[in-house]
Symmetry: C2
């Protein structure tokens, strides 16, 4: 990526708005379904089944990422993944992004182009392209990504509201890794004395989430009754499903993956004097149950459905309301609240 | 709008994220074509002709509006109008918005709900609804609005690239009023001594642009060859059309509306000692030709097309490149540059 924005150290002020737009447009992949892409007042995309699926998410410096921890590429991957995961969570196929990007004049042009490369890479992983956007100046980096998607022909979207008592709750994608990675970063990673290099995969999971896009389609074709992107934390997100569906959900901790690398991270982060297996389990559970930003998918399936290999059963749907863990309320904070 | 967010003076911090989302959802009109609206991972909209039209625009405090000049309602109208105008400029029908809103904890809840009311009012003027969004905290108000639209059955979008030599250039909607309104605000409106109350319509045009949505559809059905939303300034936007189409465009100043209230504003803002008709004309032309944010529509039509009443012919398309005014280059700065 060296020098695409001009000489090293060039700032966006010297690149100019039209220079930035041209550089972004050259970095972003096109969308196969777009008949009008970047460069007109609006984009136009074909919608084969007569529906469009659409979601928007912010990625704001100081709230959702820090430049001290995230490269431009990291921030780009995260910005794209957050919105693309919302498309997958409907059982839909991501097709295109609109990228609104506000940046400080003083931002190195290379950082902005690295961000574009991260967006491009995540688009390609999801099979989507970039069809439009907006640029502006601001005192901090603000990215607002709108993702668009298509439904397979004749297939209804999988909403949060379809879970039924007796359904199985399953997840695709790892849980707790983003929160563990954030805890490592907060503890000084990579300079924290107890943090082994192998734990870098947790830090990577926080900086560059990798939603299992194809698993969303797979769940829909298997007959998933409800689905959600685990962005707020597993229990908080299952709470959204339980509320929308008018059901209760119970999570079985023995079905969750609490082993390495999460166990190793807990050991690295708990002071030696407090370290015992109960303390470690408590910390790991807080990451897995209440840590946000994993962007795994959680779905409910009729009990007769044989789960595909990418899905792991972790709980059950019952009549009632609320979310419990092993039949009891969970005491720790159960998710993110932005205000 | 009193008290919908709770007691007067309540801040967003006390309303909470889910309280804000519930209040926004209650304010926004639904979209007729949405089968899944606010409250799921993504929205789902029917696209009758098998295409979706999509655009995104930022409205950032300190860049695109000031809380000292704009009420929440004003900012909401402007945020929605900026994006909706991009749909109209394709000859498409606005259908839905996704609203991403970041606000400071300290913002009065009522301001945020006024913003939602402004978005709702502009949606209703355009015939669109709100189908989703995102909320976040930030140190300033940031709105990113994605607008979606449909094309009438069998109709191609009107792009910037279709203007042909011999075409007529026409506009729908007033020009220069937003820039004149901004000049009045900068001069201290409403306390500026020369500024008559009648000039308030110019200030309103700046704070609450009113794009002529139906004129976009009208132009498309009349056979417009190219169209653009005049957000950067008439000459800058015609420059985008000329570049995309590979043509030259000449604007005829005698066809432009340079009279009141623009003439009255120029008189109010030019110091008495410098006031003459040449100075006034120069100032008015700078607003009309180079002032941004009018969100009028500019389009090109084959010369055989009889213009509809909402369209005013203001120039011609020729072979060549670039934009001229009465056959000569225009000397003043010709539009906005964000960097």
């Amino acid at each position: 990526m060296a020098n695409r924005g001009g000489p090293p150290g060039q700032s966006l002020a010297s690149l100019g708005e039209f220079g930035l737009i041209a550089a972004l447009a050259a970095t972003f992949p096109p969308a196969p379904s777009a008949t009008v892409g970047i460069g007109d007042d609006s984009a136009v995309l074909a919608t084969p089944d007569g529906n469009v699926v659409a979601a928007v998410d912010f990625l704001i410096e100081g709230r959702h990422f820090l430049r001290a921890w995230s490269s431009g590429y990291d921030a780009g991957v995260k910005a794209a993944a957050r919105s693309l995961a919302d498309i997958a969570a409907m059982g839909a196929i991501p097709t295109a992004l609109l990228v609104a990007l506000a940046v400080p004049d003083s931002l190195p042009a290379e950082w902005a182009l690295d961000l574009a490369s991260g967006i491009a890479a995540e688009c390609e992983r999801a099979g989507a392209g970039v069809v439009g956007g907006d640029t502006a100046r601001a005192d901090l980096v603000i990215v607002s990504v709108t993702a668009l998607g298509s439904l397979p022909a004749g297939r209804a979207p999988v909403c949060r509201s379809g879970a039924r008592p007796g359904d199985i709750v399953a997840v695709s994608g790892p849980l707790g890794r983003s929160a563990a990675g954030l805890a490592l970063l907060r503890a000084g990673w990579p300079d924290h004395p107890g943090a082994a290099p192998a734990l870098g995969e947790l830090v990577a999971a926080h900086l560059r989430p990798a939603p299992p896009y194809k698993a969303g389609l797979e769940a829909a074709s298997l007959g998933a009754t409800a689905m959600i992107d685990t962005s707020d934390g597993l229990l908080a997100d299952l709470g959204h499903v339980a509320r929308a569906s008018g059901v209760a959900i119970d999570v079985t901790t023995s079905a969750l993956d609490l082993g390495d690398p999460l166990a190793a991270a807990a050991n690295a982060l708990i002071p030696r004097t407090d370290r015992d297996s109960a303390a470690a389990t408590k910390k790991i559970l807080s990451w897995v149950l209440a840590g946000g930003e994993d962007h795994a998918l959680a779905a409910t399936f009729p009990p007769s459905v044989p789960l595909a290999p990418h899905w792991r059963a972790i709980g059950t749907v019952r009549a009632g309301s609320g979310v419990t863990v092993d039949g009891a309320p969970y005491e720790a904070p159960s998710g993110w609240a932005h205000f």
